[in-house]
């Protein structure tokens, strides 16, 4: 006869006995007790029944899109270089493991869901059942869910769309479902990023690049794994915020036009922090963001990235693929053409260690970026060390070191003017002002409404011609008077020895660069197949492998000139890689 305590202990161990988790001694004790206790046997039987029934609950495989989404995510992390702690090979290896585990985890997550579905056909055993209908067509499901949740808050609404929109995009695969969402209120930045990530994930499955207009997700037939997401900003500030996300290579660009009359840009520091948090370490926000966002209010936004030289062509390629408002994008690159300089030997303006002789001073060899007007605007604002280490904020000479940056940043405030005078960003203020004066013979908005072609005379040319929209060329000094204390100087790209200009600069010496710089195909050619190996090959052998380029992407507001969606769309269709 068992005591109460023994009975309680016995009952407590019955499940473990049932699961075979007891040691031999305890198992023997349980079996002995079971022989003598009818109640224990009944309890064991009911426990077994419950366990067996739970085991009959259907399991489901994770959708196939998950694997590609994860691979895309991992690839993006690798490309962005935001994982400094994990070896790439390890990531790649483990991604495959993760993908393999997807089915198992998903099965756990999906437990019981099937009971909410329609009657089982009974044709397949539960473990072999394919994904349910909703899952098969669910590449955009997270989007739909997000919208559904927002809908409850009155923030969004959904509507079903027909297939008539397909003509808009031309040559799209059959679309079986679409969800359109209009933003009624400000889209939280987190959602923008979320959408961006979703789009990025979808792109892994050869998804088309979404572009502006409305915001809607489109579920396509499973075979195409295609998801379109359009984002309609509520206002221009939202547009710019999303444009900032686009600059993170995570999202397609909305081709929506910015009303020239609106120049609102409320990219607050909080937004910036959130964005940086969302986008991760690779985003190195320059002072431009502070200036643009919180003080000056400008319709442009700039991001500064530190990326490896090998990655740059890929980034350019991605940018050219993802953003269909090329005249809104300006890419500038700072690089160190002094290949012989060892890492850590960069001349930092105001750096006391340099002045004290602890670091050998080097000649004022220019680094620079390439403007669409074929200029190399060199500057010595080496606020990055060659190894990519950013200057500590607390440095006493940080103000002096950042001075050139601020100058460049303020140039960004003139986004509209810059748009007209393409390539003037980063020039010394005097030269820039002169350019502005020439570029805008009439109201600046008019000047901004159409791209202005600038050209620079060949080597030795001290003049640059800037052609205003009215076609009247004006002449300004090309390298007009950098301020005495300025570390910037304007160089004529064709006046520089090619060995100093290196890869990207060399490619921009092609004629009609202004027109072609952001042309997609041109970029493709320029990037040499958009592969890092090519870029690496163009870099001098003496360039330290760890050297980092400063890659600044500035997205300007759209020009006033209307562009139809079809016109802004690449001829070969959205999202298709022409390589």
């Amino acid at each position: 006869m068992l005591t109460n305590r023994e009975r309680e202990q016995l009952e407590a161990d019955l499940s473990a006995y049932l699961d075979g988790e007891l040691d031999e001694r305890r198992t023997a004790e349980i079996e002995l007790a079971l022989e003598s206790s009818e109640q224990a046997r009944q309890t064991l039987e009911t426990l077994r029944l419950v366990s067996d029934r739970l085991g009959t609950l259907p399991r489901h495989r994770a959708p196939d899109q998950l694997t590609s989404a994860m691979a895309s995510h991992a690839e993006r992390r690798l490309l962005l270089g935001d994982d400094t702690t994990v070896r790439r090979s390890r990531i790649i290896r483990l991604v495959s493991q993760i993908s393999a585990a997807a089915a198992v985890i998903a099965a756990c997550a999906f437990v019981g869901w099937q009971v909410l579905q329609g009657p089982d056909t009974g044709q397949q055993p539960p473990m072999e059942r394919s994904a349910p209908r909703a899952l098969k067509n669910a590449p955009a499901k997270p989007m739909a869910i997000a919208l559904a949740k927002d809908k409850k808050k009155g923030e969004m609404h959904e509507s079903r769309r027909g297939r008539g929109e397909d003509a808009y995009y031309g040559g799209q695969p059959e679309v079986v479902d679409e969800i359109e969402a209009h933003s009624q209120e400000r889209i939280p930045q987190s959602r923008v990023v979320e959408l961006a990530e979703l789009t990025d994930a979808a792109r892994a499955g050869e998804a088309s690049v979404a572009r502006g207009g409305a915001a809607f997700a489109r579920e396509s037939v499973p075979e195409t794994r295609e998801v379109h997401i359009w984002i309609t900003p509520r206002d221009e500030a939202e547009y710019v915020r999303m444009a900032a996300v686009l600059a993170s290579w995570s999202a397609p660009a909305p081709g929506r036009r910015l009303d020239e009359e609106k120049s609102e840009f409320a990219f607050t520091p909080a937004d910036q922090r959130e964005l940086e948090g969302k986008l991760g370490a690779p985003l190195r926000r320059s002072k431009a963001m502070d200036t643009l966002g919180s003080k000056k209010r400008s319709p442009s936004v700039a991001h500064v990235y530190q990326i490896s030289a090998a990655e740059l062509p890929t980034r350019i390629h991605q940018l050219s693929r993802n953003i269909d408002a090329p005249n809104q994008i300006r890419v500038q690159m700072n690089f160190d053409p002094t290949a012989e300089m060892p890492a850590g030997d960069m001349d930092i303006p105001g750096d006391q260690s340099t002045a004290a002789g602890t670091r050998p001073a080097r000649p004022a060899a220019p680094s620079g970026y390439v403007g669409p007007d074929r200029k190399v605007v060199a500057n010595k604002s080496h606020w990055l060390f060659p190894g990519g280490r950013q200057r500590a904020k607390g440095d006493e000479d940080s103000a002096a070191a950042e001075q050139p940056r601020k100058r460049v940043t303020r140039a960004g405030d003139r986004g509209r003017n810059d748009q007209a005078g393409v390539g003037v960003r980063g020039q010394p203020s005097a030269a820039r002002d002169a350019d502005d004066a020439v570029v805008a013979p009439g109201p600046r908005r008019e000047a901004a409404s159409a791209p202005v072609r600038s050209s620079v005379r060949p080597a030795g040319g001290a003049k640059s011609h800037t052609e205003a929209p009215d076609g009247k060329p004006s002449t300004v000094p090309a390298a007009q008077a950098p301020a005495p204390d300025s570390t910037e100087e304007t160089l004529d790209i064709e006046g520089q020895p090619k060995e100093r200009l290196r890869g990207f600069v060399r490619t921009t010496t092609a004629p009609a660069t202004t027109d072609r710089l952001f042309d997609r195909l041109f970029l493709l050619r320029r990037s040499g197949g958009a592969r890092g190996a090519t870029a690496a090959a163009t870099m001098p052998a003496t360039q330290p492998a760890a050297d980092r380029l400063t890659f600044r992407v500035t997205i300007l507001p759209p020009s006033a000139a209307p562009t139809t969606p079809a016109a802004s769309q690449p001829a070969d269709g959205p999202g298709t890689d022409t390589e």
Partner: protein, 156 residues
């Protein structure tokens, strides 16, 4: 675990995103699957706690097909069997949803995912003895629920 297909999909994706982001913290002291499971379970539990504070209506349930809308070719016996099975699954699912998170996680990992106690303990970050008691307790509660007994799910 989360009683919703869409949420399950989101959680699955989130699980692997977190796994990717935190893969540097995986030191190989546990099985990789166990590590991922742990992320998944934590996310699912966290999701449930969040969802518990919100009233949600699943569109899937609205659009759920009516019984017998397909399978017309099947015989009456087959229809009856599947109806019974479906009813059982619904009751099981409903019972599972009534369990506390800790009990449900343990019993799901054991009876559905067929993990051993040690792995479950590692996933849930509790001792094996706790896993044992939770599984047993969960089964008893499920038995009571399925038999129509009045169950106090809060009782220890």
């Amino acid at each position: 675990m989360c009683h919703n297909e869409a949420d399950a999909l989101d959680l699955t994706q989130s699980t692997f995103l977190k796994a990717l982001e935190g893969i540097g913290k995986f030191q190989g002291r546990s099985k990789f699957y166990t590590w991922v499971f742990r992320i998944a379970v934590n996310l699912a539990i966290s999701h449930r706690r969040t969802a518990a504070r919100q009233t949600q209506i699943s569109l899937d349930t609205v659009h759920k097909e009516s019984p017998g809308s397909n399978g017309s070719a099947a015989g009456n016996d087959d229809v009856s069997r599947r109806a019974e099975q479906r009813e059982l699954h619904e009751r099981l699912e409903a019972a599972l949803q009534q369990l506390d998170d800790e009990f449900r996680a343990a019993v799901v990992l054991k009876d559905i995912e067929d993990l051993d106690y040690a792995s479950i303990a590692e996933i849930l970050d509790v001792p094996v003895g706790t896993v044992k008691s939770r599984i047993h307790r969960a089964r008893l509660l499920l038995r009571q629920m399925l038999s129509g007994e009045r169950v106090n799910v809060d009782q220890p």
